[in-house]
Symmetry: C2
Subunit: 299 residues, 2 copies
């Protein structure tokens, strides 16, 4: 009885809608993560891998690549971390925003404010696979290339939803003011941020290292960690395509338009009946429908 | 521009539905946490405080108090921790479940299996305050004494929903098999566990310490951390009422049937328009509607 006293995830993984094991995925069910879209953030707890989605915010993606290549983030810190909400890093290092300056003249010249990319024409976003469940926050939700996406066909727009792991740029009060600061959703979904900020990536590995980051007090200075010594450093940020191929990590994401992903969703709706004696409500939540990722070994 | 480049939580906190600061809460808007329902878990990262809800599972609450008072958990560990899902602790210490024994004869005698308490008659649960938004997983959701609660008036039952921070007992495959193991939801909501397991508390402080726990690999042995040295210890678990009054922490939870909490919900639907240029969808999610908690200083 290996399952004794544990939650039965093993059983759950093994069970298909009909109680038999689901067919194994094939190579065609996976796509390689483009190293140009793969950002690696070294923390003292481990490496965090973020996949970028240029289709949803080409200018923000270009900016992020430029920042990374100029080593902008290296040695800065996660200076604002709010449990259940976001981990934020960038200029807030006792300079710029934490001194109330916004950005100084050199910053403004080097990294001028970006025009918001809160959403894109749905046709430009890529192949949308509906989740198959209703949503509280948007007319329609599903996946594009593994990213959690919401859309509204009344105005023909699509956007990346603020789920745990969503990567985005912070901004000032005005919309077109993002420059260099990023945040990652580390808690519950934050769907009300959708279309109010530019989301353009998601953590595909290492979420648990972001969860280890020291927290600020949300009631003090918006969660900015007051003593810089208590802030966890951003040791280094690199783009995978800038690394020699021999040391690049190689990730694959399950294609969300594949039969394998459809089977994963069906399995989630119909978990192992020997453990789930009450069949769960026949609904999926966008932010709580994991998209499988795997890291291939070298050689 | 103190808000420069940060997400504007300060603005959000300051804003009422009409754009002015909400009225401050009064003493009547808060209730004291009963020290008999307050469980304190010492981790190496800090103290985690869990409030128990005996109305929802009187026998599980009685069992937990007895376990705590017998020092059952002291020196055990969080041996199964899955990022985005649960942190689990109890007997899985290279004995019992991790050896595949379930529970040995002494365990079975000391801590016999409990009858499931997956839900209770709604009338017994206490005063229910509707959230005021629809829900994907249950006919109706809201709060009872600060706990996130779902109910179905067709069968007249209410239960604590599996939101981040929800505290529950694990079990074997059969329903009436919980004995000593607890888990806490540390990731997204896990609503499909609702009414399949007995949930009877929630973390009211220290969630960030649980987030720091070392993780297992969900694909290996259901997430059990294979090397015991990698498991974070449960240093000590105590019931606040067993501590001298002089050293007891004193928590208050905002009454979820108060005008102050109604104002919090309204404020969440209508965050600062100077930052949220797009008004969020007018809906709240049960698991992402924080219930304020405060810790009173001594003296």
């Amino acid at each position: 009885m290996r399952l004794a006293l544990i939650l039965g995830v093993a059983a759950l993984i093994a069970a298909s809608p009909l109680g038999a094991a689901p067919p194994a995925s094939t190579a065609n069910d996976w796509r390689d993560v483009d190293p140009d879209n793969l950002v690696l953030i070294d923390t003292r707890y481990g490496e965090v891998a973020v996949e970028l989605a240029p289709e949803f915010a080409p200018n923000h993606v270009a900016r992020l690549r430029a920042l990374v290549r100029s080593h902008f983030f290296d040695g800065k810190s996660f200076y604002r971390v709010i449990d259940g909400f976001v981990a934020q890093g960038g200029v807030g290092e006792g300079t710029a925003s934490t001194k109330g300056l916004g950005h100084d003249a050199k910053m403004a010249k080097d990294w001028p404010p970006l025009k918001a990319e809160f959403d894109v024409p749905a046709a430009q976003a890529g192949l949308f696979t509906p989740l198959g469940s209703p949503d509280l926050f948007a007319p329609e939700v599903g996946h594009v290339n593994g990213f959690p996406v919401a859309r509204d066909m009344k105005d023909g727009k699509a956007w990346i939803a603020h789920c745990p792991g969503t990567f985005a740029f912070a901004r000032d009060n005005a919309n077109d003011t993002a420059t260099t600061e990023f945040y990652v959703v580390i808690g519950e979904m934050q769907r009300r941020l959708d279309r109010n900020l530019t989301a353009f990536g998601r953590v595909i590995d290492g979420m648990q290292y972001l969860q280890k980051l020291n927290r600020g007090n949300p009631d003090v200075d918006s969660g900015v960690i007051q003593n810089p010594k208590d802030r966890d450093p951003i040791l280094r940020v690199r783009l995978a395509s800038d690394l020699p191929e021999s040391v690049r990590p190689h990730f694959q994401v399950m294609r969300t338009d594949s039969a394998a992903f459809a089977a994963k969703k069906a399995q989630r709706l119909n978990p192992a009946p020997q453990f789930y004696h009450r069949k769960p409500p026949q609904v999926l939540d966008l932010c709580n429908t994991p998209v499988p990722v795997r890291k291939l070994e070298k050689g």
